[in-house]
Amino acid sequence: MTDRRTTIKWMLAAAASMPLLNQRSWSQEVTVLPAYRGYGTDPDLTKLYRPGDVWPLTLSQAQRRTAAALCNVILPEDGRSPNAESLGVVDFIDEWVSAPYPRQTADRPIVLEGLAWMDAEALLRFEKYFAELDQSKQHAICDDICYEPNAQPKFARAAAFFTRYRDLTVGGFYSTPAGSKDLGYIGNVPLPKFEGAPPELLRKLGLGPEST
């Protein structure tokens, strides 16, 4: 942890002499991914895979901690489903940014730099890591970056990261059985007959075979 704190202090010092952490690259922690192999063009499709099975996960414990805190802010527990971390979203994001494919390697610096920015910003504003902040302080930061069209220019890069990270969190969350259930997806079960839309719903919507 000392090393990480040193790094962040270095970043903050560097930031003082720059337009606030808004340079081309935010973080020295973004490493080039080793040349891992993908699953190939003929993977076993019936096997059950977990993140890390095909290529190693690469996020550090510190990065995973920030990643978990942020995805839980984006999708927290409520009465219908647990928080994002509980549905394996951190593992999914780690798998994603560690993957040897162009789309994912393009996302890697965005996500890693963005996670570093979250901590740097938390330290700058509240002298704590993002994961250590209470909800209102986490929200104070997220409110500034949650919608790109409204973000101040100095937060433009952070807002672009947040957009990407929210999509990854949402995709990772709702593609699980528990996430799908929260949305009201009740398919992927064999049915003897397919009835389509219930007539009462169609009536309510003014739709159906005879509607014009």
Binding site: P76, N150, L183
Partner: protein, 597 residues
């Protein structure tokens, strides 16, 4: 099988095992013809390999696409996609608008394992487009020639849909089609609102068994007088289950409820005892005998890397349009220095794809619906056949040919990309509000895809690259591509139409409506409907084969895949590939019985 294949005498060699190869092999083997099929990819067993109920979280990257699985992890494509390792192809230009991307699939059954199963008949205009508007080329056959074969293919593979009596959108004979699946809420909404714009919305046609095939009546209609064939196909029809209304057809189907060559054409063909299949056999060229007739083919045994030869009385190429053209162009001899059966110079020429353009909308009326199982038959319950024939005839439109609309909404199984970009509707919500928004917006999106006719042109073709070879040493293809204004204007028309439909549904268009057709149109090859390259015609000077798919130059060499298409109607080509192949195979069997081949 390899050793047997090398010693046995065959009547016919078929190169390729997809829609064309499968249908050709089926028809020939049912008629008692001894067939050897060579497939470049590996053996594939859908009953064992299909990920039927796997969920996204059981796949790497939640099943998202990658360059190794372009259509997502669970897509039934093996060793294929836009690029195939070790099997390059070349672009003639770096201009993105002059590029053609080539999808291949190296597996038994080829691309039929993953395709969309949309099965539309060409209509009367589609076989005689030049006669109607002076553009492109006519086929040497008419719809009336083809109608009986469309009937047969529909009866054999199982296609749902209805006969609506619409212009250039043929009816099937009674008993050929299966009942269409129940529409989704979004289907009804599109139907209601598009109809207000004068756009017809009718049940789609797909090769999915909405009920068991008619194994009592159909066998005698498919194979009159051939009791052995009737018995075999009746058994196989009973082995195929009806759809269980779950899991995406693009994964393939382990219960054989949709059409793929591996579950429908090949099992009964093998059951006749007349078909041997050799997989991992990459054909490089057709071998010509001294008499000017095809003697067989050369192929690479991909296991050993050794070159082998197979011989037969007749050679049928069904390797997919561009691969077939490549084999012909690579088959050079003193008699055919520019490639086999190429005295016309037309081999590789007139490659056509489908015009594609897409737009989607978010529809408030579909928000916050109660939980509904909308897996259905995995899409395409309805579609819009082209409605502008009369307007085009009157000169009211600035493009010559039509398109149909495929569309889909519904509460589909969530994946890695589900609900991406939601901030455009929510203003950037996160936290508990985002969870509420997700429930509200899930299932409220409808996407529209235009699929339109491309007119063949002199600037869209493939040839052999002088330098590049694949890993087997076989010279690679180089592609040339250009859309004409008929296609780009059509793509712009699609965009405007889709925006109008979204608007009529009370929805909001997602992204931008592209009014510049050259921006709106998908790149060449992108829709994976490539046909042409060895077109059929009435004149040996301007075409490669006659109406029987028989090359003009080499009597015992046939091409039964999409390469023979003289036009590429908006109707998805697979059903027509099968109908053409059936007709050609029947002709081959008939000529062989008469000792004329």
């Amino acid at each position: 099988m390899t050793s047997k294949a090398n010693t046995k005498q065959y009547d016919v060699i078929i190169v390729g095992s997809g829609a064309a190869g499968g249908q050709t092999a089926y028809t020939l083997s049912m008629e008692g013809v001894k067939v050897l099929m060579l497939e470049a990819g590996r053996k594939y067993v859908p009953e064992q390999e299909t990920p039927m109920f796997q969920t996204a979280d059981q796949a790497p990257l939640r099943g998202a696409s990658s360059p190794e699985k372009d259509f997502g992890f669970y897509d039934a494509t093996i060793d294929g996609g836009w690029t195939v390792p070790g099997e390059p192809y070349v672009q003639s230009t770096s201009d993105p608008k002059g590029r053609f991307t080539w999808w291949r699939s190296r597996m038994l059954g080829g691309r039929t394992n993953h395709w969309g199963r949309i099965s539309l008949r060409n209509g009367p205009y589609d076989f005689k487009p030049h006669a109607r508007d002076g553009l492109g080329m006519d086929w040497p056959i008419s719809y009336d020639d083809m109608a009986p074969y469309y009937d047969k293919v529909e009866r054999l593979i199982g296609v749902y849909g209805t006969s609506e009596g619409l212009e250039n959108t043929p009816n099937s004979s009674p008993g050929c089609l299966l009942p269409p699946p129940a529409p989704l809420v979004s289907d009804y909404l599109v139907q209601q609102r598009a109809r207000r714009l004068g756009i017809p919305i009718v049940p789609g046609h797909r090769a999915v068994l909405t009920q068991q095939l008619d194994f009592k009546r159909s066998p005698a209609l498919l194979h009159p007088g051939n009791l052995k064939a009737q018995k075999i196909i009746a058994e196989h029809m009973q082995q195929r289950s009806a759809c269980i209304w779950a899991t995406d057809c693009g994964r393939g189907c382990s219960i054989r409820a949709n059409y793929q060559s591996t579950t429908v054409h090949l099992p009964p063909a093998v059951a006749t005892g007349n078909l041997d299949i050799v997989t991992d056999a990459m054909v490089s060229e057709v071998v010509l005998g001294r008499n000017g007739a095809a003697k067989g083919v050369k192929y690479i045994d991909k296991h050993s890397g050794a070159e082998r030869q197979a011989t037969a009385r007749v050679v049928v190429l069904a390797a997919s349009a561009c691969e077939t053209a490549r084999i012909l162009l690579n088959s050079k001899s003193a008699l055919f220095p520019n490639g086999l059966a190429n005295s016309s110079g037309k081999v590789g020429r007139y490659i056509m794809d489908t015009v594609g353009s897409s737009l989607s909308g978010q529809i408030p009326l579909l928000e916050s619906l109660p939980p509904l199982n909308e897996d259905g038959a995995s899409g395409h319950a309805f579609y819009a056949p082209w409605w502008g024939y009369q307007d085009q005839q009157k000169g009211k439109l600035n493009f010559a040919r039509g398109y149909h609309i495929e569309f889909g909404g519904g509460r589909r199984m969530p994946g890695a990309g589900t609900l991406h970009g939601l901030e455009h509707f929510t203003g950037g919500s996160y936290g508990k509000k985002l969870k509420e928004d997700a429930r509200r917006y899930y299932g409220s999106f409808v996407g529209f895809d235009g699929r339109g006719e491309m007119i063949p042109n002199e600037n869209s073709y493939c040839e052999i690259d002088p330098k590049v070879k694949d890993k087997w040493g076989i010279p690679a293809l180089r592609f040339h591509w250009k859309w004409s204004e008929h296609e780009t204007r059509q793509a712009a028309h699609m965009q405007k139409t889709f925006a109008d439909i979204v608007d009529a549904m009370g929805g909001r268009v997602i992204g931008k409506v592209r009014t510049d057709g050259s921006e709106a149109i998908a790149p060449g090859g992108f829709i994976i409907h490539e046909v042409g390259g060895a077109i059929m015609g009435a004149d040996r000077q301007t075409s490669v084969t006659n109406q029987w798919c028989q090359t003009w130059d080499v009597k015992n060499l046939f091409v039964t895949d999409g390469a023979v298409f003289a036009s590429n109607a908006d109707k998805n080509p697979t059903l027509t590939i099968m109908a053409v192949a059936w007709r050609a195979a029947e002709h081959i069997a008939d000529k062989m019985k008469r000792k004329e081949l």
